[in-house]
Each structure stands twice: as C-alpha cells, then as structure tokens.
Amino acid sequence: MSLLEFRDVSVTYRGADADVPAVRGVSLSLDAGRTLGVAGESGCGKSTLASTVLRLLPESTKVTGEVLLNGEDILTMKWGKLRAVRWSEAAIVFQGALHSLNPVQSIGKQIAEPISLHKTSKNPNKRVGELLEQVGIPASRADAYPHQLSGGQRQRVMIAMALACAPSLIIADEPTTALDVMVQAQVLDLLSGLVRDLDMGMMLISHDLGILGTSCDDLAVMYAGRIVETGPAVEVFDRPEHPYTQALAGAFPRIGDPQARYRPIGLPGDPPYPGDIPTGCSFHPRCPAALTECSSVSVELRDAGPGRRAACIRVGS
C-alpha cells in the first residue's frame, strides 16, 4: 500500500461566471521514505493538488476521485478524523515563511501549538527544543520572534512545525523559493535528511526542475491541470520526453554547457488560464514541435521507456 495515492483526482473551483477546472484527472502515488517532485508553473494546479491532501480547499470547490492516505480516502473522511490526520499524519510546509508565521508569538509557542492540540507529547517544551535542534536551530532560540530570524531560519521553523506531530507525510510547497542558493541547499539537505532518517514520504512542489531532479526520487510534470510526464526524477530532468518538460529543463541552464551561452531557453506565450484551456493537447499553442493533429487530439499519458510516461503524440510513435 502506498503512503499517498491520488486516483483520478479532479478539482473544479466555482467561479463567479463559470467553473474553473484547476486539476483534471491526476493519478500519482508516493511510498514511505521516498520523495515525489511535482513540477509546473503558476496556475498549473500543483498547489491545488497538494491542498486536496489536507482538504484545505474552499467549501464550494468540487473535488472528485480519491486521495488515499495510508489507504483511507481523505475526501470522504469524517471531520473529526480529518482533524486528527492534519499535522499528525500529514503536514504542509508552505512557501513564504514570513507570511505563514505569527509575528507576535515566539517561534517556540507556535511550534508547541500543534503538539498541545494533538497531545502527542507530555512535555511540549522539551519536544520544541528537540525539533529546533533537529532543523539546525539552537533550542535556546525558542523565545525568538519571527522577525529576529533570517529567511532561512524562518523556513526551518516552518519545517520544525510540520514535524511537530511526527507525520508520515510532508508536503513542501515551494519551500525554498524566496531563499538564496546557499540557504536553499541547506534547507533541501535538511528535508532529504529527514525523509531518510524518519522514513517519511515527501511531496516536493517547485517550478525549478533542477531542484526536483536532484532531490527527488520520482517526478511528475504538470501543465494546465494534467500530468504531462512522469518517471524517475534524474531521467526526466536529464532526458525529458515531453516538449514542455524540455522547455522547463532548459530554463535553468547547465552551467558549463556551451550550448546555453547567449541562448536562454524559454517558451513564447504564457501558461493557459485554467478557465480557458486550449482544445486537443493543451500545450499545443506553445509547443515548438506541434503537429496539425495536436490541436484536436488529446493525448493521454503513454509509455516512454522503463518507468516513464509522457503525454505527447510524438512519444512512442
């Protein structure tokens, strides 16, 4: 049994004028002790997908399919059970730690809050100290306020909070976006170490394919609410099959690659608005390799080598 499994999950936001399909039929799974990367740009549905795991979406949102956490469907779970699952089985590390932390409460108190609520430790203060040490902050800093910490330290506090109730699943949504490269490396090291040592599963969300390629086991690339490519992370990053993945992989050049000098790779146009998704393959208006039939034929994920799948008409034909 997988730790986390999405089965044909679709999410539709109710808009004022029309419904907005943000996630359209996603199936993915993650085992304990492994890291699943989800890549994609703003509006592709990756954060919406992650929000289904803790049912954090607005009441009016329509969610279909199944989200199984340790075999139990979160979408049909009773409220009381769901509350027990949040924090203690699955926790989220949000991006933008400055906005997610309470500025007028010490970090120690904030980390202690889920511990006291879920009564997972008899001595919350001692546990807070342990957690801070675990993420590389001296326990003596528990009385500090968020503004007294650097950006990297605040992100560590967010991670400590997520670990507070020893969850089996951690979802990290762009955990390093606002951080410098060196601090980013520190935070990614910390997260991978925790996954390894505590045998947790981690879903890591980012638009940077380089980060996902180097710190994940498996990778799924999303575009306009669908998975367009999946496979072992290193292979997908190194030899992408889908033209969209190729563009994402090229966006952050390999330093030292003479091909990339004075030739930045981008894609003309912008990602589609979820309420106005192109017909056929939703990527075709921006695809540098589009064929005429791409504007009418919608391609499902198909085999693209061992353990790999891609949703492109050119793959495997």
Binding site: G151, S215, G250, F252
Partner: protein
C-alpha cells in the same frame, strides 16, 4: 561606460554595505553582479544609479565622476529595472501611463503616443496599442516585466541596471525575458548590469561576472572562465550548490552570510571558508581591480 572606483557605502556609521569596490562596465557589455542577500549588491546598484550617495570613492559615468547636482539628466541615461513587476507597477495606472510616466517627468519632447508604442514593441509587447489601456492585474507576470522594461526603454537610456529581472517569473517566461535583454544589447547597443543571485542567468547572458561577498568583489572575470574554473572558495561553493545532477560534491557553507556591521578581520570570508589557512585570519587582501582578466581575492590564488 559606468563604474565604481574604490566605492564604499556605510549606513549609520557602522554597516559597511559596500566596502571598497572597483567595477567597470564597458559600453555594450552585459555584466552580472552575483551574490547572496545582504552581500551589498543591491546597495551597489542603487549607488551606481545615484539613489545612494557613496561614503567613499566615486561613481564613474563615461569616465567622469557622477555629478550629484545633475542627477535627473543622469537618470535618463541610466535606468533601473526592478524585480517584482507587480510591486513596481502602480495597480491603478494603465500600461500607457506607466510607460509614459518617465517621458512626463523628464518633459521629453515629441509624440508621446509614438514613443510609448515604440518602447512597448521593443520590449516585445506587440501590437503595442492593444496594451495601452490594460491594467497590471490583467497581464501575466512576463508581460508585466516587459512593461517595466518598456518604462525604462522609453527614455532611450544607454545603461540598464536590472535587479533580479527574472527571479519572480515562471520558468518558461524567464528565458524569454533574458532573450529580450540580449536582443536589446544587440539592437540598441545597451549596456546592462544585472544584479542577481542566479548563476544560471549569468551563464545565459553575461559577458563578465563579478561575485560579491560582504561588500566586496571577491572574484571577477569573463563569465565562461569564472564559472568553468572558479578560483575563490566562495564562488566554488556557490557553484556547487546550483541544482544539477552532474555535481560531484556539494560544498554547503554553514550559517548565514555574516553581518555587514561586523566584518571579520583578515580575509572577510575566512570564518566560513572550507579551505581556510592560518594566515587568512590576519592577511589584508587588496581590492580587485577590473581589467577584464580573471582574478580572485584569495590567498591561495595570490600567495
């Protein structure tokens, strides 16, 4: 074209944000100024723009010291492109007004509408008339960044100083904006100083790169040489943590960049340096001069 000579900027008497920098950017050149938050790169850029006054040393423009009584004329020549285009644009101004603002401030003669249209299409927003009456929230992130660039281009400057021009943009849009900067250099002969923490960006577009640490440039040279064969341990560490699967080993520096109010003696990098030697604690390293050759401020490379 534009540069700094022994420049320092001290805030409140003790925060040495820029602490002795020599830098020259030649006409038509793209130079990347690279470093982490708090290294002083943004302060250096603001000082080059005349937004901060140096405490010591000089800002040079076309070989002449910057005249602080003629800043307005200077700023027509040297324009800033900010990061975070959503923050840089007034949400209640149309694209047309945002771009025309500079023309109005500088009372530029000529056909305003034509000048705005030209700037927009140079920045890749075509046909420009279609964008005149749009508001920032109606545009995508990439389009907003193009509006910010058009606002700088409309004054026909000779130098652009771009502070993290792509850090808030989506991956696929990033390459398009970098391509735009390259083509502006090609077509208009623009000189560009890009301030960034992104070494990939430097590899993509910069002719030369200057790596800054705690208020000083610690390594400088042609981009291909510096990034293929970094000499300073700080540059080596920065490069090693850029996510890539080919890396042999990451050199993850512990801690955060130290405080510019308490710059360590000797080599300022010594407390975090993985290959520090005894003499690094006391040795005074000279300020790197910029002659287009590859140089590093490290005792191991200049014993």
């Amino acid at each position: 074209m534009i540069g700094a000579r022994d420049l320092s900027v001290v805030f409140g008497g003790r925060v040495r944000a820029v602490d002795g920098v020599d830098l020259e950017v030649d006409a038509g050149e793209i130079v990347a100024l690279v470093g982490e938050s708090g290294c002083g790169k943004t302060t250096l850029a603001r000082t080059l723009l005349g937004l901060e006054k140096p405490t010591g040393g000089q800002v040079l423009f076309e070989g002449q010291p910057l005249d602080y009584r003629a800043l307005k004329a200077y700023r027509r020549q040297v324009q800033l492109v900010l990061q975070d285009p959503l923050g840089a644009l007034n949400p209640r101004h149309t694209v047309y007004d945002a771009v025309a603002e500079g023309l109005r401030i500088h009372k530029v003669p000529g056909d305003e509408q034509q000048l705005v249209a030209d700037a927009l299409s140079r920045a890749g927003l075509r046909p420009p008339e279609r964008f005149f009456l749009r508001y920032p929230h109606e545009l995508s992130g990439g389009q907003r960044q193009r509006v910010v660039i058009a606002g700088a281009l409309v004054l026909q400057p000779r130098v652009l100083i771009a502070d993290e021009p792509v850090s808030s943009l989506d991956a696929s849009v990033r390459g398009e904006i970098l391509r735009l900067l390259l083509s502006l250099r090609e077509e208009l002969g623009l000189t560009v100083l890009v301030v960034t923490h992104d070494l990939g960006l430097a590899w993509n577009i910069a002719d030369r790169i200057a790596v800054m640490y705690l208020g000083r440039i610690v390594e400088v040279g042609p981009t291909a040489e510096v990034l293929s064969d970094p000499q300073h341990p700080y540059t080596q560490a920065l490069l090693s943590v850029v996510p890539d699967i080919g890396h042999t080993e990451q050199i993850v520096l512990t801690g955060e960049p130290p405080d510019p109010a308490r710059i360590p003696g000797g080599c300022r990098f010594h407390p975090r340096c993985p290959v520090v030697m005894e003499e690094c604690r006391s040795a005074t390293l000279p300020i790197l001069t910029v002659e287009g050759v590859h140089r590093a401020a490290c005792l191991r490379t200049n014993p």
